[in-house]
């Protein structure tokens, strides 16, 4: 399975002046100062996914749709997005003010040189295969076109959009005390609320879900060798029981209610990765939170293996020197929101000489402020 080859562009979206990002396949890091827009880059992907799946109103809700435009942008300039996948180009322009969208947005979808559909901002009609149509639908124009005729050439873009999963807001409180069962069983919800439902389903349906459950548990054993041996479910408990290695007594099973935050986070990360369809793009905001360095390295190794097997692109925003040190051999997979660069994020290997990488470990470089550092008042 080949990882998706895509380029994301954005302009004047929140703190981002100009984004142009084509991440390498496999596991990539995205780093930089607080407030530089790492999470906002992921929000752009989340927004495009939501826009295609549910329309702009719901999708704006996913990203708290106010203050969309960059503070210093010209008042008349729209918030602009582009997505390029192969020879398919989807372009969007949103006229906004501080409260949100002010009118109909612009949209263009081209295949090669052919303009397949076009909508101009502020207009009441749009053009589909050269014919005018009224806006009478909550769907974006590209979704309308897909639902209408499913052109073969749109398939890579649609698959890409549908495969995007952004994990930036786990709710450990819901995972500890699940009160209602989430209907989704195939993949993890962005909050992680359906963690135990998903794992329970995977465990009980190996023909449907293949090795997902076994892979998660094995990767958990590697990351938390003294804590996790087995994961079991009892009919009356909505959450898992985690047994330490070599436990034989049924009472040794620790309910999730009592489990450490780091262990739950490990389950969430791995379940998210295991649930990603081949060729998907999946992102974690500050993946290192709650985790011991050993667990960080172990989970990263498992993610890398899975990404290679399944053709995944896994994006990790981070401030963790531990994670960065694990990319010594692949600096081309570290992207930085580097102040002063024309377009962000930029691959670290593009802005630094190979010799620069030999002088210090990358995590030390980050701690020293040699890259991705905030601008201090004296600068």
């Amino acid at each position: 399975m080949i990882a998706p080859d895509f380029t994301l562009l954005a302009r004047d979206f929140r703190v981002l002046r100009a984004v142009e990002w084509r991440p390498e396949p496999g596991v990539c890091l995205l780093t930089g100062p607080n407030g530089s827009g790492k999470t906002t880059v992921l929000s752009a992907l989340k927004f495009l996914r939501g826009l295609f799946a549910f329309g702009h109103e719901r999708s704006l809700g996913f990203i708290k749709g106010v203050h969309l435009r960059r503070r210093d942008a010209l008042p008349e300039s729209p918030v602009h997005f582009e997505l390029h996948i192969g020879d398919v180009h989807w372009t969007l322009d949103f006229p906004v003010d501080a409260r949100g969208l002010v009118s109909n947005y612009g949209e263009t979808l081209t295949h090669g040189d052919e303009v397949f559909l076009r909508a101009a901002m502020f207009q009441q009609e749009w053009f589909y295969r050269g014919q005018p149509r009224r806006f009478d639908d909550r769907r974006c124009c590209a979704r309308f076109a897909w639902d209408h005729e499913e052109p073969e050439w749109m398939t890579p873009m649609v698959r890409f959009l549908e495969s995007i999963r952004i994990y930036d807001a786990y709710r450990l409180d819901l995972i500890r005390q699940p009160t209602q069962e989430d209907q989704r069983r195939g993949y993890l919800h962005p909050t992680g609320a359906n963690l135990w439902t998903v794992l329970n389903t995977w465990q009980s349906s190996p023909r449907l879900y293949g090795d997902r459950f076994a892979w998660v548990v094995e990767a958990m054993r590697l990351a938390f060798p003294d804590v996790v041996g087995e994961l079991e479910f009892e009919g009356t408990t909505p959450h898992g029981l985690i047994f330490p290695p070599h436990a034989n007594n049924p009472d040794d099973g620790l309910p999730a209610l009592l489990e450490a935050d780091g262990v739950l986070t490990g389950f969430l990360h791995l379940t998210a990765v295991a649930g990603a369809a081949p060729g998907s793009i999946i992102a974690f905001d500050e993946m290192e939170n709650q985790l011991h360095p050993f667990a960080i390295r172990s989970l990263l190794n498992s993610m890398r293996t899975r990404a290679e097997e399944q053709g995944l692109t896994i994006l990790l925003t981070t401030h963790s020197p531990v994670l960065m040190n694990a990319f010594e051999e692949r600096p081309d997979q570290i992207y930085v929101m580097e102040p002063g660069q024309e377009k962000l994020p930029v691959a670290l290997s593009e802005i630094r000489d190979p010799v620069w990488f030999t002088n210090f470990a990358l995590g030390r470089r980050y701690e020293r402020g040699d890259f991705g550092a905030p601008i201090t008042p004296s600068e």
């Binding site: 010799v355 030999t358 210090f360």
Partner: protein, 176 residues
Amino acid sequence: MRVALICTGKLELYGLKDGLTAAFPGQDFHCVPFATTPGGQMTPFNSFTSARLPKKILQEPDSSLSELVGATIDELYPVRKSDLVFVLDDLELCNKGNDAVVVKEFGRAITRHLQRIHAVDKFAVKSIQQILRDSVSFHLAVPMIESWLFADPTGPSKARVPMHQLSPLLQAGCDS
């Protein structure tokens, strides 16, 4: 001339720049700290002489030493931040009499680092070698700098500490 001072002690980190500037006015001395707090407080690099170095060392250079070497090369390549680099460590008591081994170990760490550079950019190695020969000196203080001050009551005045900043000299039998 811009001169980088890479030191392993607080005394050197905070005192050497002023001392050298007084002795060589017109030169631009600056300290390269191991780390700087957001408040601007500098911390020095760790000494690599805190444990006795064996005469024949087979393993990778100590991480403290690797940091010193990395910081040294970082001042000069790929961006030339300084014209000269002075690396200053002092000989801890556990390495008394081991001066030659310590100096040799610094050279060995440089060689190991050049091998790493060779692996990523073999064409850069020769020019970096030349830059290091022309621009870097390693200084080992024997005995350690503090001992000049603390073991010899007249050390501070010899080091040109102004009279009003000197501690009072006490004399046995006279002062209590």
